[in-house]
Amino acid sequence: MKPAPFEYHAPESVEEAVALLAEFAPQNGRVLAGGQSLVPAMAFRLARPAHLIDINGIAALAQLSLGTNELTIGASVRHAAFHQPITAAPLGRLLSEVVRHIAHDPIRRRGTFCGSIAHADPASEWCCVAATLGATIVARAASGTWQIRAADFFTGVMTTALADDELLVQVKLPLLPADTRSGFVEFSRRAGDFAIAMALATYRVENGRIAEPRLGIGGVESRPRRVVEAERVLQGGIPNAECFAAAATEAARAVTPMSDPMISADYRRDLVASLARRALEQAI
């Protein structure tokens, strides 16, 4: 399982990377970041890029910066950067809780947050986080820079709004209010495996009632999304078991689960009900 031949480029700046992408994307050129998804695909020869543009040497893309309203994650920031909460605020705790579910430690030392976003595997935890929290994806091409909302970014299984000649340079995650509660649950066959389904729940409590609920489901449909049907059930409700169960039931009803030879849509639908409920209960 050796990769097919390719030309290798190691730009030292974002400008150089973007110029290379402009030149080689039409010739089946691809970006190499962590490589933890791309290299196996190349080993199976499912991916045969003729050019690889290795962005690991670009210092500007390795930045992880905490602003007043958002966390900006550079393209080559590794999963491992989130092992310790990058802030004591709810977002930091949430990311450090989620990252434990991503594969295993050695994969996390090389794999990148932004790489997962660009790869858009429906079972990706970061994609679920991005969709649920309303991330902004920053893409740059030779012709300029764009900001794309997460809801518009994920278009299908491993398909995104990113054009071939665009480099995903950053993802911005909005900081969550200080009193945000969050819960994340996923089900996989073994620890570290791709998730069969996952649920991310965040909400606040105002005057004893749920405010700003977010319930994101991943691994179930062709792309992760907030299940607004379930959020409507949560909005203004009392944060108790009955409310969570009702929201979970609604979430299961609302999704259109994928089906494959090993796992049926019905099974996934049942999982949504359980995992959504558990994520909400965990958020207490």
């Binding site: 073994r190 620890a191 090993m262 796992i263 049942d270 999982l271």
Partner: protein, 771 residues
């Protein structure tokens, strides 16, 4: 040192370990020879079809390519034969080394590329185009048979074993229990993929096969015969082997191809399989569907068992012929009395990767079936299944216990065993009564937890004969040359321990040779849990004789009687004055040298070849107890606790025995919950990566409690040894299935392995709907 060291029974450190922990192992991929070519196999992407054309022209022109072959390039190479010899009626089902008219499974070798490096060989392999006229694939062994080739069906054989008038017993039976059970397709999947490196030394007309495993001497014979060479012109070399489990070392097409190419090109040929290839081309195993029924009386005593099963053999018969289904028939009754018995196995070919032996072949399957049956009998009659076991288990008073059933060409006669005694020991060790009470309390709190048990008989020590040669050189170094094989199990250490204690030397100074046909003419390799019994017993015999030879001449040289002498820590000493005058074994060897004046009429050399012969396999036995927790929402299963009780006869190295049992358990767990080779309707394999074929990790595999019993040493060999290689895996599917039933409160729920979350959810939902 004046005290004789006991080595047998000690958990000493392994001789094999120092090179392995320092990265100095020599696995086949680690070995290279100058000017070698790399071989890459072009495999069928189609499950069933007629080959219309194979175009190798583009591949031949690719950079670095030396040659490309298809079947037409090797007309003189016959199909690989069965290991036990010619079986004419089964010969049409053998796999050709390269596909000829048909392709019959995804992964079947169609062509091979030889190139200067592995990367370029793979590039060129992609350029070979094969045109296949697709035929409908047959994907189920229990479906009506199809056509293997014109005039021949896909029922390769119907194996039968039995005795007594089963039908009349069923006609009058008070109670009949009937089950339909299935074990999923899975296999050993060692962490090192297959590989081979063949080199032809034309100056000496010697073909060397590096990367031998499991049965080097047998494979040498097979290769020599296939290539039309005398045995003296073929030698096998075994280095380090990354796990066998029955899969590695069976002669495969690729092994033959590297030899043919090495001779034709007069360049070394190296082939290293990748993981995707391994999962679709190395032997599969286990897939059987059983329709079994038992006739029982009101007390749950078995009156008769009638079993019909379908064995999914895959596309061809490989070196094992139909031995696995045949053994399934013979061993299924296990530890129980079965007054009348019939087992009929349909060996059906399907368009899947061919199947063969995997650790405890025929036994993992039959233990699952038999113990599910026992549980079902207990449930139907309202009797505790453990009492059903007690009422039916053969007792020590009935040993040796024979019935007209066979495995591996021998009648099955249980040599020794106290099944009920071990059952009681295991239940006591697990504190069964308190355990059940505590599980019941947890269930009352809403947890889905339960315990299950399985009782089984294993087999080991397949003969007939093994021999080893022990030599002490004039420097005092001891070398034991065996025809054994190492698959990582610690055979060197075990042989060294037996030699050391018997001869009277330190085990750490002993060199053990294995897997080398040029060092010893005869060998049994490592399979069927026979190495410790056979090679160990031969070592014991040779060491006794060597000890005798040394003491015989030492008595003369030390002017005393033989009875007055002993060997301690490599020196011949007087028993009554061990700290006094002595002779080192190296000195004895000098006195026995060919030119020595003190040798007398004695044969030169301090060297002995010792043999051990047995006409009897031994039948160790065990009890496993599993405690599982089920997540009703997801269908996930976690094994909380596990106890494996096993009668080892006598443990030469207890730590190694425990390692075998723990490792076997992990594999059994995989087969019970995680591992399965699934195919789609077009015959495409769906488990072709480690992301789909799920091996248990440390997270899924609990530490298990192991209870080793040495109550019943084998009467069949002087040290009382029984093998342990397959005991850890044998009943794991059965024990876990039983525990899952208890956890979800649905007796007989589990009828199919592996119990995946989706299958378990379906069982739970169907049960809830029925209420």
């Amino acid at each position: 040192m004046t005290e004789k060291q006991q080595w047998i029974g000690q958990s000493v450190n392994r001789l094999e370990d120092p090179p392995l922990v320092t990265g100095r192992g020599r696995f086949i991929a680690d070995i290279s020879f100058p000017h070698q070519l790399h071989m890459r196999v072009v495999r069928s992407a189609c499950a069933h079809g007629r080959i219309v054309s194979i175009d190798t022209s583009e591949a031949k022109a690719a950079p670095g390519v030396y040659a490309v072959w298809a079947a037409a390039d090797i007309p003189e190479v016959p199909p690989i034969d069965f290991r036990e010899g010619r079986i004419e009626r089964l010969e049409p089902y053998r796999q050709p080394v390269l596909a000829q008219k048909y392709v019959r499974y995804v992964g079947e070798p169609i062509a091979v590329v030889f190139a200067d490096d592995a990367y370029r060989a793979e590039d060129a392999a992609d350029l070979v185009t094969v045109e296949v006229e697709e035929l409908p694939p047959l994907m189920a062994a229990d479906a009506p048979p199809g056509e293997f080739e014109p005039g021949r069906t896909t029922t390769a054989e119907i194996v039968r074993q039995g005795y007594g008038d089963v039908d009349s017993v069923f006609r009058t039976a008070p109670t009949i229990v009937e089950l339909d059970l299935a074990v999923g397709r899975h296999s050993g999947v060692p962490l090192e993929t297959r590989g081979a490196l063949a080199r032809y030394d034309s100056a000496r007309d010697l073909l060397e096969f590096h990367g031998a495993a499991k049965v080097p001497h047998r494979n040498r014979e097979a290769i020599a015969r296939m290539l039309g060479r005398g045995l003296a012109g073929v030698h096998m070399y075994e280095g380090n082997v990354g796990g066998g489990f029955g899969i590695r070392g069976e002669l495969y097409p690729e092994d033959v191809l590297v030899c043919v190419a090495a001779m034709r090109f007069e360049r070394p040929i190296k082939w290293i399989e990748d993981r995707r290839e391994h999962l679709i081309a190395a032997n599969h195993s286990r897939q059987q569907r059983h329709r079994i029924r038992a006739a029982v009386d009101e007390a749950g005593r078995i009156l008769a068992i009638d079993d019909e099963f379908f064995h999914d053999q895959g596309a061809y018969l490989r070196t094992h012929g139909v031995r696995v289904p045949h053994m399934t028939c013979g061993i299924l009754p296990g530890p129980y009395r079965v007054p009348a018995y019939r087992a009929v196995g349909y060996v059906r070919l399907t368009n899947k990767t061919p199947a063969a032996t995997y650790r405890a072949p025929g036994r993992y399957e039959s233990s699952f079936v038999r113990e599910r049956l026992i549980d079902a009998i207990g449930h139907k009659l309202g009797i505790d299944p453990n009492d059903v076991r007690r009422r039916n288990a053969i007792t020590p008073a009935e040993m040796p216990y024979a019935r007209p059933l066979e495995a591996l060409g021998e009648e099955i006669e249980y040599d020794s065993g106290d099944y009920i005694g071990l059952l009681d020991k295991a239940l006591a060790a697990a504190r069964w009564t308190e355990l059940q009470a505590s599980l019941a309390r947890r269930r009352a709190q809403g947890e889905a937890v339960g315990a299950g048990l399985a009782l089984f008989v294993e087999k080991s020590g397949l003969g007939p004969t093994d021999g080893v040669r022990i030599t002490v050189d004039t420097g005092g170094s001891v070398e034991v040359v065996t025809g054994g094989a190492s698959i990582g199990q610690g055979i060197e250490t075990v042989v060294a321990q037996i030699c050391a204690e018997t001869l009277g030397v330190d085990y750490r100074g002993i060199r053990v040779v294995h897997g080398r046909t040029d060092q010893i003419e005869h060998g049994i390799g490592a399979h069927a849990s026979r190495a410790t019994v056979m090679t160990g017993s031969a070592t014991h015999s040779a060491a006794l004789q060597l000890r005798d030879k040394a003491i015989d001449i030492a008595a003369e040289l030390m002017q005393t009687s033989k009875d007055a002498l002993d060997i301690i820590d490599g020196k011949v000493v007087r028993r009554d004055a061990p700290g006094g005058a002595s002779m080192a074994l190296g000195d004895i060897a000098r006195h026995l040298a060919p030119g020595s004046k003190t040798r007398g009429e004695r044969e030169p050399g301090l060297s002995v070849t010792g043999w051990f012969t047995t006409d009897h396999q031994v039948y160790p036995y065990g009890v496993h107890i599993a405690v599982v927790r089920v997540d009703r929402d997801t269908g996930g299963v976690a094994v909380e606790k596990y106890l494996a009780a096993y009668d080892i006869g006598r443990a030469v190295n207890p730590a190694l025995v425990r390692g075998q049992i723990a490792g076997g358990f992990a594999q059994g767990l995989g087969g019970a919950l995680y591992e399965e080779f699934v195919y789609d309707k077009q015959g495409q394999p769906l488990a072709v990566t480690f992301a789909d074929y799920l091996l248990p990790t440390m997270g899924e595999t609990p530490a298990i409690e192991i209870l080793l019993a040495e109550d019943a040493p084998s009467p069949c060999n002087p040290l009382g040894i029984k093998g342990a290689g397959e005991s850890g895996i044998n009943p794991v599917g059965a024990a876990i299935a039983s525990a899952i039933d208890a956890a979800i409160g649905i007796p007989g729920a589990v009828r199919q392995l592996p119990v995946t979350p989706t299958r378990l959810r379906a069982i739970l939902k169907a049960h809830a709907e029925r209420r």
